[in-house]
């Protein structure tokens, strides 16, 4: 039985080698499609898992103040009223914002940390800023403040390189410096961060806050975590373009196979039948032909995708992800793999191709060999 399969496999491989150019091109394109699809699946899944894990300690509820759909600084006094809501442990004002650096054409995020802020006149910077500006501890950096006057800061620390995916563009500074730099009054904050006794009360507390201050917008931790589950969903721009291209390519493959065999392939089937091959042998040969092409493409494409995403930091995606930004984290994702996704990729790539290879051959194999060759 095994020897029978091996003889048919030998013949199938010889047959494929006779049309080296066509089958080689088919295998290359097939592998490329699997590579792109697998790269996207690996990248998005690993990113979602990483976001879900690290943002597990994000603030429990953030309260923003909005006016006509845009956010505004929030009065710190509102925090005293919010703190009186049952279940709220603490309310802390957060100070953060953006600074566009028109020399390096980069956007920075300025933040006043809740713990261990730098002393006035000092800043900690993300490793992305350090790399881009070649700035290191002890160096001085000047930024123009809200009033057009420059402020000079001394770099105290560079934030950990391994946390770039969180801190690449951060500038940490003291509350005093931030208020002086941004012009935000001392009785206001960017937003508020709440600690809550019981996570089950998130919705109730959020509702009470909006009843108390209708212009506020509470964002709870679960929503923050869900953001990264959803942003790379199948409807997002990147994925829909790639999935559409892959789907079209597969349709072309399937159509090419299902629409019939080439004259040469039909003649080959005719000759095989004339020399005594059974219809089942011909179907077996076509089954192996489908398996050889699709399984090889699946294995090579998936292995290359793994190397691409987890060893080269998704180098091919980088230009797309960077957009117009000049400051970009160079992170290496932890290789979280969803086995279900790999299995789905296997069934979507190997099975349809093999089936569409067998069906037209079955039609040809059941016709009289004399009629086929004529």
């Amino acid at each position: 039985m095994i020897e029978h399969h091996r003889h048919i496999l030998d013949f199938t491989l010889s047959s494929l080698m006779r049309r080296k150019g066509k089958n080689g091109a088919l295998l290359s394109v097939y592998t490329l499609i699997v590579f792109i699809l697998a790269s996207v699946l690996f990248f998005t899944y690993a990113l979602k898992r990483e976001a879900s894990l690290v943002l597990n300690e994000a603030p429990e509820i953030i309260v923003q103040r909005t006016l006509t759909g845009r956010y505004l600084p929030i009065p710190i006094a509102w925090g005293d009223q919010i703190a009186k809501i049952n279940g709220v442990i603490s309310v802390e004002p957060r100070l953060w914002g953006y600074k566009y650096d028109n020399v390096f054409l980069a956007n920075y995020t300025l933040t006043v940390p809740a713990e261990n802020p730098p002393e006035s006149g000092n800043i900690d910077i993300g490793s992305g800023i350090s790399r881009m500006r070649a700035a290191y501890p002890g160096d001085m950096i000047s930024f123009t403040g809200h009033d057009g006057l420059p402020r000079v800061f001394t770099i105290r620390n560079i934030l950990d390189h391994e946390s770039q995916l969180l801190t690449s563009d951060l500038i940490l500074l003291s509350e005093e410096d931030y208020r002086d730099f941004s012009g935000i009054p001392s009785d206001q904050a960017t937003d508020m961060s709440l600690r809550v006794r019981n996570p089950k009360e998130y919705a109730t507390i959020s509702e009470k806050i909006t009843q108390m201050y209708p212009e506020t917008r509470p964002i709870v931790r679960t929503e923050i975590q869900r953001t990264y589950d959803a942003v790379f969903g199948w409807r997002s721009g990147l994925l829909i373009v790639i999935f559409s291209a892959a789907a079209i390519a597969f349709i072309i493959f399937a159509w090419d196979k299902a629409s019939g065999l080439s004259a040469e392939e039909r003649r080959e089937i005719g000759v095989l039948k004339a020399v005594g091959w059974e219809t089942s042998d011909i179907l077996l040969m076509k089954f192996w032909e489908g398996i050889v092409v699709s399984l090889t493409a699946f294995l090579v494409g998936t292995i290359l995708a793994y190397a691409h995403v987890f060893y080269t930091s998704s180098a091919l995606f980088a230009p797309v992800l960077k957009g117009w930004s000049t400051l970009y984290p160079t992170f290496r994702l932890t290789p979280f793999i969803d086995f279900g996704q790999v299995a789905t990729l296997f069934f979507l790539t190997v099975v349809p191709y093999t089936v569409t290879t067998i069906i037209p051959s079955w039609r040809a194999a059941t016709i009289d060999p004399d009629a086929i060759m004529r």
């Binding site: 491989l13 080698m17 957060r94 969180l166 690449s168």
Partner: protein, 104 residues
């Protein structure tokens, strides 16, 4: 004597399957080893009260995806045209979409 083509093919496929198995094993080991790294990162998130990943820095609403207000990102509706490349890569956060549907 020349090797049979099927021997070469089956050998190559077995090799590729082994590499694929090795990938899964490698991923499993790396994930287990990264426990302390994730502890440090979550501690950093807690200390700095961070809410977002630093994936895109070109626009405020893609830098802080979860903190975006309902008007700036994606202009004035989730289906409107986008002029920052990364804004077109990602979907709006679900809570923003929910707020839009409440307003409609």
């Amino acid at each position: 004597m020349a090797r049979r083509r099927s021997t070469i093919y089956l050998g190559t496929t077995a090799g590729l399957l082994l590499v694929l198995g090795g990938i899964f094993l490698h991923a499993y080991i790396k994930v287990r080893q990264s426990g302390p790294l994730f502890t440090r990162k979550t501690e950093l998130v807690r200390q700095l009260e961070l809410t977002d990943l630093c994936l895109f820095t070109e626009a405020s609403y893609t830098r802080h995806l979860s903190m975006t207000d309902p008007s700036t990102p994606f202009q004035d509706a989730p289906m409107s045209l986008e002029h920052f490349p990364t804004g077109a890569l990602v979907e709006p956060p679900p809570h923003l979409m929910r707020n839009h549907s409440q307003h409609d």
